[in-house]
């Protein structure tokens, strides 16, 4: 079932985006978090996508058990994602975001949040 699900939704062009974010309050405990989102740079409307995510500390050690959220929106429009994606843990700081879909062509921004604070932002273009 899992395999079926993945076959259905995967269309990854796999670009790797590395984003270093300094995280205000917890700076002492977590000096630097590195989040990598492997996902498409461009996507098609009304398809389901899954985005593998890796979160690690500055030494490359994966950070499991994080409270992550995902948000998507179109900067030129007033709406967000048409779905409620789910994030599941895959161990050693790897996460899988499933159920991402785009309802309109154009420029989209995907944001990953850690405890509701911005951790990573990625842009992508959605086409027909």
């Amino acid at each position: 079932m899992q395999a079926e699900m993945q076959a259905m939704s995967r269309r990854l062009l796999s670009i790797v985006l590395v984003c270093c974010v300094f995280w205000g309050e917890a700076r002492a405990a977590l000096p630097q978090i590195v989040a990598k989102l492997d996902g498409p740079v461009s996507a098609t409307v009304n398809q389901f996508y899954e985005l593998p995510l890796k979160v690690s500390d500055a030494n490359g050690v994966g950070l499991p058990g994080l409270n992550l959220q995902i948000r998507g929106r179109m900067p030129e429009h007033s709406h967000g994602l048409p779905t409620t994606p789910r994030i599941s843990e895959k161990g050693e700081g790897r996460y899988l975001i499933e159920g991402v879909s785009f309802s309109m062509p154009g420029r989209w921004v995907i944001e990953i949040l850690l405890d509701n604070k911005l951790l990573l932002r990625q842009e992508l273009t959605v086409k027909f």
Binding site: M8, F48, H77, S78, H79, L81, G99, M104, P105
Partner: protein, 393 residues
């Protein structure tokens, strides 16, 4: 004096040109000049039934000849209604592009929140009803049968009728009719689902929109046959198509795909205060409550729309399903509540949508001059071209 007037006019004209959405004041038969991006969009909008199997994945009776034949009879069968007087075809009239041109919906329920849409190509959609409270075509049919404002029957009656009327002619489909007298609730439910899936199989096989002049135009462009393209769409219609694709106007953002609907839900300022219970927000609640939603009859992997349903959002309030723009030729009125009597009025709506304060809204006023509104209208009429009954014969 005359000079000043002429100069003034010229200036005004130049200004006007700058105010127009880009790209459209010179249309003069530029069929060969579509950009690669535009061509890709045009192909994406061309009629295609490729998605039928994928969209109707939870209907294992799709494409089965006996189910299609049964569904065709059920669609016209007044025995499915509580009153014995109406069938699906009463409100979705075959001779009128499957539109409710006799206003049966309103005769049965003058207070109805939703008008009946035409249903050609419904099988190519993701969601059904204006609020998307059904996630499959087959469950949509079942909802109608038990809706007191529509066929006003119930599943036990419907299944009894199904068995009595059709079991001889469709033995393979209806073999469970044999044990009907001893049938329990879940057996009845299963046969009721077979009924819905048969109607859906018929709709997917036979209720598809005719090929319009637009589709043939795209074929001609694809073949590089610009003379034929020019014979298919005139200047005004091409100008309308360009406006339709123009980012400043934005129609194609929501009305896309082969049915001219991306199956999304958007708020386009058609809500009135106090009407919120008919929008997508309510549709989501009804969908989750439905006994026949995907998750209750299929494995989770086949139900991504439900698994990842947008539930907790301010954006579903006042939002309605984007309707198809094909097959509007016979539509007696427009929008979910039938508020407009003409396509001109719909276009005027987009030019100056009446917004409510503090409400989420997904459109901006479309900057359309009077002649551009006529062009856009001409294009919408192209999509309704092709007479269903004639082309089916």
């Amino acid at each position: 004096m005359a000079r000043i007037l002429t100069a003034g006019c010229a200036l005004a004209f130049i200004l006007l040109i700058f105010l127009l959405p880009s790209d459209h004041f010179h249309t003069g038969i530029a069929h060969a000049e579509w950009s690669a991006d535009d061509l890709a969009t045009l192909r994406h909008l061309r009629l295609s039934t490729d998605a039928l199997a994928e969209k109707n994945k939870t209907n294992e009776l799709l494409f089965r000849a006996d189910a299609i034949a049964l569904g065709r009879q059920l669609f016209h069968d007044t025995g499915l209604s509580g009153s014995g007087q109406i069938s699906c075809a009463s409100c979705h009239r075959p001779e009128a592009g499957y539109q409710d041109t006799e206003f049966i919906t309103y005769k049965l329920d003058p207070q109805t929140a939703h008008r009946a849409p035409g249903i050609l190509g419904a099988a190519l959609q993701d969601w059904f009803f204006w609020d998307g409270r059904a996630d499959s075509l087959w469950s949509q049919a079942l909802a109608v049968i038990e809706n007191p404002k529509e066929l006003a029957s119930d599943r036990v009656r419907a299944v009894r009728h199904l068995c009595a009327q059709y079991k001889k002619d469709f033995p393979a489909l209806l073999k469970n009719c044999r044990g009907l007298s001893a049938a329990r609730g879940e057996d009845i439910d299963r046969m009721f689902v077979t009924l819905g899936k048969s109607i859906a199989a018929f709709e997917a096989a036979e209720l598809l929109p005719p090929v319009s002049r637009f589709d043939r135009y795209v074929d001609a462009l694809d073949a590089g046959n610009y003379a034929e393209a020019a014979a298919l769409l005139n200047d005004k219609e091409v100008a309308g198509l360009k406006l339709f694709l123009d980012p400043m106007v934005g129609c194609v953002n929501c009305h896309n795909g082969p049915m001219f609907t991306g199956s999304g839900f958007f708020a386009v300022a058609t809500d009135m205060p106090g009407q919120l219970e008919h929008d997508r927000k309510r549709g989501v609640e009804l969908l989750l409550d439905s006994e026949f939603n995907c998750l209750k009859w299929s494995t989770a992997a086949d139900c991504p729309k439900l698994q990842y349903l947008l539930t907790d959002s301010a954006e579903t309030a006042g939002a309605y399903k984007v309707p198809s723009l094909r097959n509007l030729r016979h539509a007696p009125f427009f929008m979910h509540d039938g508020r407009y009597r003409s396509l001109e009025a719909v276009i005027e709506h987009y030019r100056s949508p009446a917004t409510l304060p503090l409400r989420h809204i997904d459109i901006r006023p479309a900057p359309l001059l009077p002649h551009q509104r006529k062009q856009l209208l001409a294009f919408l009429e192209v999509l309704g071209s092709g007479d269903f009954n004639k082309e089916q014969q």
